[in-house]
């Protein structure tokens, strides 16, 4: 699973209110099998594969597409009372992506491409959403991008899987209260 974290900010522009969410993610991608680049022969790979221009093309595509948040993407927030609020982004948001090729010698890429992404999206809030979000703590947040979903919580906690914790829920509420 992607390693990810999020931050929220409440924004008021005139009478319009928004929830802004910033995503930070670390994603690994394998070398596409159709490129037929053999990593097993690491010397050969370092001599040739690492500098194969096709890898640059793959990296360029990954940097363009990873963590892209198109207009209409959803942010699903489950509240403590189990009601669900679905917010929708209103415009396309490209991510700022930093990427490394496999075995580039930088970062810990291993045999994969490594992408560190930072993306933000604005989600408009109506009066009912604000009332719900400020009355009940959020317990889980699931953010949609063009190619996958990001949960801001771990699946490893069996008793409370995908739960963001009370402190994080309170921080979300505090941010919203500031713009009301």
């Amino acid at each position: 699973m992607a390693s990810s974290s999020g931050a929220v900010q409440a924004i008021s522009i005139g009478d319009d209110k928004f929830l802004a969410v910033r995503l930070r993610a670390r994603n690994m991608f394998p070398i596409p099998p159709q490129l037929n680049i053999n990593l097993a022969d690491s010397d050969q790979y370092k001599r040739t594969g690492r500098f194969d221009p096709r890898l640059d093309l793959v990296l360029d595509r990954l940097k363009r597409d990873t963590a892209f948040i198109p207009a209409g993407s959803t942010l699903r927030i489950t509240l403590q009372d189990r009601s669900v609020i679905v917010l929708t982004s209103v415009k396309d948001n490209s991510a700022s992506n930093q990427g490394w090729k496999p075995q580039s010698g930088e970062e810990n890429t291993g045999p994969n491409f490594l992408l560190l992404s930072e993306a933000s999206a604005l989600y408009p809030l109506d009066a009912d959403m604000i009332k719900a979000l400020t009355s009940r703590l959020a317990v889980s947040v699931r953010m949609e991008t063009a190619d996958r979903y990001y949960e801001f919580a771990s699946r490893m906690n069996i008793q409370y899987p995908l739960t963001i914790g009370e402190k994080n829920g309170q921080q979300l509420q505090e941010a919203l209260n500031c713009v009301l």
Partner: protein
């Protein structure tokens, strides 16, 4: 007959050990919502799939809550479509509870559910799609009574991709009885 009815509904008060993750009115409907803590099952079969159970009440309605954790391996990079279709349980799907006396309690879901899926990359040709899905099986008073009166041996949930089976040992299924008793 009348006595039997009285016995059926004279359920014990929620035990002092009942713990609730949610115990408050819904901001949307105003109904009182109660979800017990999830309880883990002891699996009788070694598998990457497991299930958790909770007793759920929403106003007067009662549910057996099941949280299904499943892992599916595919030989290529997982697409968003793979994630969206990993576990889909349409409204009207069946949930079967096989009881200790071999009787079956069949419950029909009233809400469509799509599992929250993500993937883990192992290599260019091996991806695990990991999905967590919460299903609420609506229970009549008789079904709730039936599920707490004896152990559940096996649970089967129908999905668009086939049946998901969960089989439990004695200890695990007793835990399921205990969370359902909390909402009687």
């Amino acid at each position: 007959m009348g006595c039997a009815t009285v016995l059926m509904f004279a359920a014990p008060a929620a035990s002092a050990k009942c713990k609730f993750q949610t115990d408050m009115p819904s901001i949307v409907t105003g109904e009182h919502i109660r979800w017990t803590d999830w309880t883990t099952f002891s699996l009788a079969i070694t598998t990457t799939n497991y299930a958790l159970a909770a007793g759920i009440s929403e106003g007067d309605r009662k549910y057996a809550g099941l949280q299904l954790h499943t892992v599916t391996t595919i030989p290529r990079q997982a697409s968003k479509e793979d994630l969206d279709n990993a576990v889909v349980i349409p409204a009207g799907s069946d949930v079967f509870f096989l009881m200790a006396d071999e009787s079956i309690i069949k419950v029909t879901t009233d809400q469509a559910v799509t599992g929250d899926a993500d993937f883990v990359m192992h290599s260019a040709n091996r991806y695990d799609i990991v999905t967590d899905t919460i299903v609420k099986a609506p229970l009549t008073a008789q079904e709730l009574h039936g599920l707490t009166a004896q152990r559940v041996k096996r649970i089967r949930v129908s999905t668009t991709a086939g049946n998901l089976d969960f089989e439990f040992g004695k200890k695990g299924s007793k835990k399921m009885q205990s969370v359902l008793e909390c909402i009687q």
